[in-house]
Assembly symmetry: C2
Homo-oligomer: 348 residues x 2
Amino acid sequence: MTRVATILADGRELLYFDDRPGAGPRPADTRDLPPREPRPEIRYDRVADEWVVIAAHRQGRTFLPPADDCPLDPSRPGRATEIPAPAYDVVVFENRFPSLAQGVPAPPGGLAGLGRCEVVCFTSDHDGTFAGLSAERLATVGRAWVDRTVEIGRMEAVEYVFVFENRGPEIGVTLQHPHGQIYGYPFLPPRVAQALRAAERHGACLSCDVVADEIADGSRVIALTDDVVAFVPRAARWPYEVHVYPRRHVPDLPALAPDELGGLLAVYQEVLGRFDHLFSAPAPYVAGWTQAPVTQHRDLAHLHAEVFTIRRTEGKLKYLAGSESGAGTFINDVLPEFAAQRLRDAHP
Amino acid sequence: MTRVATILADGRELLYFDDRPGAGPRPADTRDLPPREPRPEIRYDRVADEWVVIAAHRQGRTFLPPADDCPLDPSRPGRATEIPAPAYDVVVFENRFPSLAQGVPAPPGGLAGLGRCEVVCFTSDHDGTFAGLSAERLATVGRAWVDRTVEIGRMEAVEYVFVFENRGPEIGVTLQHPHGQIYGYPFLPPRVAQALRAAERHGACLSCDVVADEIADGSRVIALTDDVVAFVPRAARWPYEVHVYPRRHVPDLPALAPDELGGLLAVYQEVLGRFDHLFSAPAPYVAGWTQAPVTQHRDLAHLHAEVFTIRRTEGKLKYLAGSESGAGTFINDVLPEFAAQRLRDAHP
């Protein structure tokens, strides 16, 4: 794998990760881009005990552009996109409309939204999917994620690196081109913090117990290898939800040996493929990697992916309303054991 | 106000709350309803430290019926609805497809979803809105909420009573008729529990501090009376969000004197009315009352309403994806001070 770092016209970093050496030229970004002035801030809610990112400059961001104007396609003569090269394998670049960024000034009396927001393009094929990536490409994506987890973890203020993909307009995705995102947060996100508090009270990794129990029970297991297990959690929040774990206790993606990473991503990809075949059209999904925080509790956190869809039946979505968004309690209309059977049956 | 308790054909409770004495007959429910067999269960996620309600029987529930088949309209000859009477002011009844219910059996090796789910119809007018209720009706709704908070709080296993309204198909509301819901949970919902832990660490009510600070600052205040304040929280999670507080520290709706309740509901109603005029069409919203738990921490909890919309601009919604649903961190694209100004300007 090769890695080539470049700078876009407005000063943002763009990195090329190639499947193999010998890729073509990396032309300069010739666009006349306005200077970036992101001003995200973070605010703490004392009553709810929660950090919120306020990113008002994002209202003008690109929204479902037509396919022939996709900013994630390679550039062609006469049409410059976010990626100056005429072809690419995997690229990672700073989000033009970031929710968190390095070097932003603090607002008067407030706290700057220091952190990082990056976009990861998995393929130059506008109509591709993560499930359709070749094994070689999957390895390149994995090495890019490892690279970014390490580098973003070293950036100013970053406490947590979250690698995720949102797929589908039903879930608000504004660009159809296959891509993921990476957020470097300057605090522990609430779900991560709550899980770590529970592990701290328990005095050991709770995921190791759950992984062993799910394998022993078997009724919710979707995939099992010597090193990896994928299952619907017993208390799934979402209609169709799968957690993918390395069976060995490792804190994050960089802690995996290369062949372990390959085995984990192969099962992860298989699971995403099953979400493409649950319904007549590929299901919208959110897929995110829970990793250990940059500095705290690296012994208690157990790397895993959480994948879920908001589609509960062919024609219906799960909405978050009073119970979920107001009180924080999820009501799941699909029995997890039934969801597991449906997922086991869902394949090309 | 009068209160008349009745029983529907399948054994569910239905209560009439009348604006004034002398209302008409309460005919018996003549429908031939199948017996109810709700089997909700609750499951605890050890890793996330979170309760989830699994209610698989709800998949078949009524979904956006045509207006002439609304189950919340009064009954007419030849068309029996959930409300047997030919007219009503406010009715409350047990949800036919409950996420939580009294007397349900535990699944093998699991925990029953003991609790309560009720529906509250604010008016028999199918096309009405909460914002359009008369002052007399508003008082009846308030007394119904107080009655249910007290009674549900006494039911088996109930630890928390949550009174809320979901409005609008964009937020997944399956019935258009103006109505709210009441959930009696057998545990503290996560947002409530987290806020109470923060107050416990602080050693006093945090809301009392915030109420004083918001009134002193003024930039986010939407409405202010001698007894009530409504403001956009400084760290708002949603594009347009308003919290409505009694300025006096009270734990829940039943703790208010009748005239205090009237003053609070008048401001609450005014706020909901502003959500009807933010955009060209009434905004979808979730409005919920945060109350003290049934038994714990009644000194630390400060009653208030939280109202928010997922609409962020005329044509766009806020979606919850990787950051919000995956990690639990909200990104808000609208500056709370700007939202407050827009809400102050939004009225008929």
